[in-house]
């Protein structure tokens, strides 16, 4: 029973990934317009050069053959050739993925911790001034676009009080690998990460608050009170674990949101990650890079959903046996 669950789960993961890869192919190959047309628009290309480009992008095959070639290449980690950077896409993506992981990973961790903590504080004092303040503040911040919050932070911290770097990932002239270098990156990380936290923490504080308020009136919470469990322990030990279930689901959905947010934030702060790469690729019509980036974002969302399913099973014993 337990084994078959994982077989089913992994099979559905594989099927989802396959469908995503295929859709990604369709998006770029079936929709009108192709890189050759775009490149040749300037008129500097003669017929021979065009043929060469067509061959380079393997557009001289039938759609089905292109699809098979695409699948084969993707499976072998060959994501194409960027004609802006004139390098394999994998090379272009290499450092960008790491930088985005650093930014989004840090921001997500802080967002979840701060959001859940604020939610607990609000729920423990439900309908108080603290509760209202947390709700109103997080809702206001949530309703702001990422780039706008980012620009305000740049204005305040970079222009008014010059405390933090507002652009890039590192200062020039530092030897890489040293402690000074790490601290320098951390300083560059503060503003873009803060932007993502400010905008997204509401999702967690509001869900935690509402879920916890609902949980705190459950019968087993009364049992815990009757047992003489302290208020603190009731919230953290008895109620929160039950209340966390919707938060796990929210985290999976959040990853999709934060990747979208990362495009804006990385652009605003010139953070050399996937988001900035996508922004530049759109501007320069660097199709292979876009195609690969979409695929990576999609895979990230799918894998996170899978991870949240696994986490859900760990948190809720009732799901384990089904």
């Amino acid at each position: 029973m337990r084994g078959s669950y994982w077989v089913r789960k992994l099979a559905s993961l594989a099927a989802t990934l396959y469908a995503t890869v295929s859709f990604n192919f369709l998006l770029f190959h079936v929709l009108p317009g192709n890189p050759v047309q775009l490149l040749a628009r300037s008129g500097h290309y003669d017929a021979a050069a065009r043929r060469q480009l067509v061959a380079l992008f393997e557009l001289n095959h039938s759609l089905l053959d292109q699809y098979v070639i695409y699948l084969n290449n993707t499976l072998h980690g060959n994501l194409g050739f960027s004609y802006v950077y004139r390098e394999p896409v994998t090379t272009v993506l290499g450092s960008a993925i790491g930088n985005t992981l650093l930014l989004v990973g840090t921001a997500t961790f802080i967002t979840v911790v701060v959001g859940v903590w604020l939610g607990v504080v609000a729920a423990s004092r439900a309908n108080s001034l603290t509760d209202a303040t947390v709700s109103v503040t997080s809702l206001s911040l949530w309703s702001m676009p990422d780039f706008f919050t980012g620009m305000i932070l740049i204005f305040v911290c970079g222009v008014w009080i010059h405390v933090l770097p507002i652009s890039g990932i590192e200062s020039s002239g530092l030897a890489s690998g040293g402690l000074a270098h790490v601290l320098d990156i951390a300083r560059h990380l503060v503003l873009p990460a803060t932007t993502l936290v400010l905008v997204n923490a509401a999702e967690f504080s509001l869900i935690t608050r509402n879920s916890l308020v609902d949980t705190l009136v459950e019968d087993y919470v009364l049992t815990a009170r009757a047992k003489g469990v302290s208020r603190r322990a009731i919230v953290w030990r008895h109620a929160l674990r039950n209340a966390l279930l919707p938060i796990v689901t929210a985290t999976a959905l959040y990853v999709g949101m934060v990747l979208g947010g990362a495009i804006q934030v990385e652009t605003v702060f010139s953070w050399p990650g996937m988001g900035l790469l996508i922004y530049n690729a759109v501007e320069q019509r660097d199709y292979p890079v876009l195609e690969a980036s979409f695929l990576i974002f999609a895979i990230a969302v799918i894998v996170t959903n899978f991870a949240s399913d696994v986490l859900y099973r760990l948190l809720d014993p009732r799901v384990r046996r089904t």
Partner: protein, 329 residues
């Protein structure tokens, strides 16, 4: 000194439709080893009464008057920390384990262990674990099932686990709030049997709260009948049941209705008559007898003057004008 002494207790709920007095002038004494049953319809204040004893009332409920003394200590004088120390060690609860009273994401043994850990931090883990196994054995749950989650148990087993948990810190008083509700007939029977055995063997005081008078009579030796926040009849089980065939006058018409709601297995085959109507709205002032609107015997006097709780015999009180009338004439 009595184990529990409740005097003239009043409990109010603040609601959207105004202040609602859920418990009105209730007095109740429970001695060590007593088993008292509190019976009444939903909303009559019986659960509120139970929860008030270690002050577990909902945030919108307040004790508006009267006193509760546990072992001589007035609980109104205790702060939250002292109350937490008293909870489960002096008064524990058997809630509806079959429903949601056990935490769904914690193992049964851990939930029982927690009670021991909180109140006896000096007890070693090994000793505490051994006690958990022993407690579960007492209610007929094998040690191999101790590490289960609530959803892995049947309703009856969950209720038995709840009973084991209630006994974890050897409380002097156990309050069983609807311990058989939502269980099938066979499980109900097992639980009632268990409550009876435990009471006999361990000598704990027991308050059993239920809407099921028949269940209460099987376990308790004293019965308190509540209606719309007040006690309408109280006496020994023998007294209250013994009047079953007596003419109206030594039994409250509401108790009569509760008894009649249970058809007699050996009697003639008749449809249980039941009781029509609803209890009065407690958020509005009530004039006269609270039961008058549903009582077949009600007179204008009943509707105008509220009856007092009067003794009809030693240890048997009834709140009914007719009860007084019979005694006087």
């Amino acid at each position: 000194m009595s184990l529990l002494e409740i005097r003239d207790l009043r409990i109010d709920y603040r609601t959207e439709s105004g202040v609602l007095r859920a418990v009105d002038d209730v007095s109740l004494v429970v001695e060590r080893g007593d088993a008292v049953g509190v019976v009444g319809e939903s909303g009559c204040g019986k659960s509120t009464l139970g929860l008030a004893i270690p002050l577990l009332l909902a945030p919108n409920a307040t004790v508006a008057g009267g006193s509760i003394r546990l072992d001589g200590t007035s609980i109104a004088d205790l702060d939250e920390r002292q109350l937490n120390r008293l909870r489960w060690t002096t008064v524990s609860f058997i809630f509806q384990g079959a429903m949601n009273a056990l935490n769904p994401v914690q193992r049964i043994d851990q939930q029982i262990l927690e009670a021991i850990r909180i109140h006896e931090p000096e007890t070693s883990t090994a000793t505490a674990r051994a006690r958990v196994v022993e407690l579960l054995g007492l209610v007929g749950i094998a040690p191999s099932r101790a590490a289960s989650y609530p959803h892995e148990f049947s309703g009856g087993m969950r209720q038995r686990a709840m009973i084991a948990m209630a006994l974890a810190c050897q409380p002097a008083l156990v309050i069983a709030d609807e311990p058989t509700t939502a269980l099938d007939a066979i499980s109900q029977d097992q639980i009632l049997q268990l409550l009876r055995d435990l009471r006999r063997r361990r000598g704990q005081g027991l308050i059993m709260i239920s809407h099921d008078l028949a269940a209460i009579t099987r376990v308790c030796d004293r019965i308190v009948v509540m209606y719309a926040g007040v006690i309408v009849e109280t006496g020994t089980t023998a007294d209250v049941l013994g009047r079953r065939d007596a003419a109206l006058g030594t039994i409250h018409p509401y108790t009569r209705a509760l008894l009649d709601a249970h058809p007699d297995l050996h009697g003639p085959r008749v449809l249980a008559p039941g009781l029509s109507g609803h209890p009065p709205d407690l958020a509005r002032p009530i004039v006269g007898c609270r039961f008058a609107d549903r009582c077949a015997h009600a007179t204008d006097h009943c509707r105008a003057v509220a009856p007092a709780l009067v003794a009809v015999s030693r240890d048997h009180d009834v709140r009914c004008h007719f009860a007084v009338a019979e005694r006087v004439t």
